[in-house]
């Protein structure tokens, strides 16, 4: 059964858009995976992208920080802007410092916990050597992991549990101070308790950055997201505030998906 969030008061001024996509098409070679996606991500809010498997939501997410470019033969058309700046024309390493990503399966480096979080700081030269430890602590706190690892910062990150590793990856992403954090089904490999911890974390992180989360779990979207976009077969069928999508969707396809008629 779908969770029913409280209905918001009408006539709220929508927050300014931090990240904006307009008419985005995406090609794998000659296959068109995304059709004319237009979507705004309001600043300091959580936006969820939902839809059945293969609908293109992950593809879209990965184009936002252009990590899709690591696969050869891909092409992005259209406009993606970050605070008005053209993402597709930006220097890609600068882009990725401002738009971070957490992946579906935790992928910590085979280094110590400290080194994992410090990596982004070091490679981008974001802090003086004496300050790195402070930034690492701040990031680990921000990822709600500090208390669990403060005594073993110099042990291997691979010794942590799955949920802890994923929070470590979030800390690693936070350490470079991104304005947007993209999460690609971050809890799909985790147990319910670890999932709950991360969901709480995401809601709290809104104050620091704009969050975009891809999830195949509708309840999760209902729990954490302020806004939701529904994808189907490479198209954005509908996007609105989460409570509207779940209680009062305009499109039939959305309603069918929400009510579980397919998915």
């Amino acid at each position: 059964m779908t969770v029913q969030p409280p209905v918001a008061a009408p006539a709220i001024v929508p927050p300014a858009a931090k990240l904006r996509a307009k008419g985005v098409n995406f090609y794998y070679g000659s296959f068109k995976a995304l059709h004319d996606i237009s979507l705004e991500f309001p600043a300091n809010q959580v936006t969820a992208l939902i839809g059945p498997s293969g609908c293109g939501k992950s593809t879209f997410l990965r184009s936002l920080n252009r990590i899709s470019e690591t696969v050869s033969g891909t092409r992005i058309e259209g406009e993606i802007t970050l605070d008005g700046e053209d993402v597709l024309k930006m220097d890609v390493t600068s882009l990725r410092r401002r738009v971070g990503m957490v992946f579906q399966r935790p992928n910590p480096f085979p280094k110590t916990i400290f080194e994992n979080v410090a990596y982004g700081i070091r490679v981008n030269g974001l802090a003086k050597r004496s300050e790195v430890a402070d930034v690492v602590e701040k990031s680990l706190r921000g990822a709600a992991l500090w208390d669990e690892v403060r005594d073993k910062l110099n042990t291997s990150a691979l010794a942590l549990s799955g949920g802890q590793q994923q929070r470590l990856c979030i800390a690693r992403g936070l350490a470079v101070g991104p304005e947007v954090l993209l999460l690609d089904e971050p809890c799909s490999a985790l147990d319910p308790i670890a999932t709950a911890k991360i969901e709480d974390l995401l809601v709290a992180l809104r104050s620091q950055c704009t969050i975009v989360i891809v999830t195949h779990n509708m309840q999760q979207a209902a729990r954490v997201a302020d806004h939701t976009g529904f994808f189907l077969l490479g198209r954005l069928i509908e996007h609105d505030r989460t409570d509207v999508i779940f209680r009062n969707p305009s499109k039939k396809e959305t309603e069918d998906y929400i009510t579980g008629r397919f998915g």
């Binding site: 990725r96 399966r105 470079v176």
Partner: protein, 326 residues
């Protein structure tokens, strides 16, 4: 079995059941055949090692462990020592590694991180063909290309620029340690490139993506994340190449100058174990000379055994690791 045959009589085929019975014990025969062949491999290897041990007995008894360190090699007085050849073998192989490991790993990085799938496969195939080129042909090429180049340009050039170093002093004839090292380095490229490339390709793509996602450049990702992750396989490839270089005979014999003494200068002529074996074995007479040469062969055998073993251990660990991280 007999009862089964009795209960299913087939008209005109009474011989079939006994034949099929005999066929079934053909498994025994087959097992016997393959076991014999497998045993022969054990036997052959054992005999090989035994021959080396026995054949070198005369020299081993005469010189003991001093054989390894002695610099004398005199067929007239029957005094033999392995040092000049060990020195040459190790020096040429190490320098070959120094030259080809950076270039080889660099090329492997290109083939795994930059080149697309089909281009990468095609280029790797071409590189692997280098390993198929017979050793004499490398030697043939070297005599008429590297040796003159060394004599006319490389040698004098090195002397002019670095002549204050003892390793670049003395007359330049074109043949010598450095020339042999150069040939060896080309010969071992394919071993380094092929194995390192496999090791690099085995690094999970999520590792690369994680680094890129925090804003690292592709080079930073490769140098700081990918190569360290693959380091065991890369090191394994280095040991593999090392072992290959140690045992290399023909190309080295043709360009090393075949000098029986130890020289500090890389531009001087020298010798390796394999080269001196190739040169002297056929003419060695008496009791001690052949035995000394065989003892050299024994030394080389052990050397390559150890290095090879380490190589395969490292490569085994990486493939196991790769499968584990899956």
């Amino acid at each position: 079995m007999a009862s089964a045959a009795a209960t299913t009589p087939i008209p005109g085929k009474s011989g079939v059941s006994s034949l099929s019975r005999r066929l079934r014990s053909g498994d025994e025969v087959a097992w016997l055949i393959v076991i014999l062949f497998a045993l022969s491999v054990l036997l052959i290897t054992a005999v090989l090692v035994a021959e080396l041990w026995v054949g070198s007995a005369a020299a081993r008894h005469k010189f003991g462990f001093g054989f390894i360190t002695s610099r004398v090699w005199n067929p007239v007085t029957d005094e033999y020592g392995a040092w000049p050849f060990l020195y040459g073998t190790v020096v040429t192989s190490v320098i070959a590694l120094v030259i080809s490991v950076p270039i080889g790993v660099g090329a492997a990085v290109f083939l795994s991180e930059l080149a697309g799938g089909r281009l990468s496969d095609a280029l790797t195939f071409l590189v692997e063909l280098l390993a198929a080129v017979p050793s004499v042909i490398y030697g043939l090429m070297a005599i008429f290309t590297i040796v003159p180049a060394m004599r006319m340009y490389i040698g004098p050039g090195l002397k002019a620029a670095f002549g204050f170093l003892p390793i670049f002093q003395g007359p330049v004839y074109g043949v010598g340690y450095l020339t042999a090292s150069l040939v060896l380095s080309i010969m071992i490229f394919p071993y380094i490139i092929s194995v390192s490339r496999e090791a690099l390709l085995a690094v999970p793509r999520e590792q690369r993506e994680a680094a890129l996602a925090v804003g690292a450049t592709k080079w930073e990702t490769t140098w700081q994340i990918v190569i360290p992750y693959a380091r065991l396989g890369i090191i394994g490839s280095v040991f593999l190449a090392f072992s290959r270089a140690l045992g290399e005979t023909m190309a080295v014999t043709m360009v090393i100058g075949n000098d029986m003494t130890v020289h500090t200068s890389l531009l001087a002529s020298g010798n390796t174990i394999a080269a001196v074996l190739a040169n002297e074995f056929n003419e060695a007479i008496g009791a001690i000379h052949p035995a000394a040469l065989i003892e050299l062969g024994l030394v080389l055998f052990f050397l390559t055994l150890i290095i090879n073993g380490m190589a395969r251990l490292l490569i085994l660990v990486t493939t196991g690791k790769g499968a584990h991280h899956g």
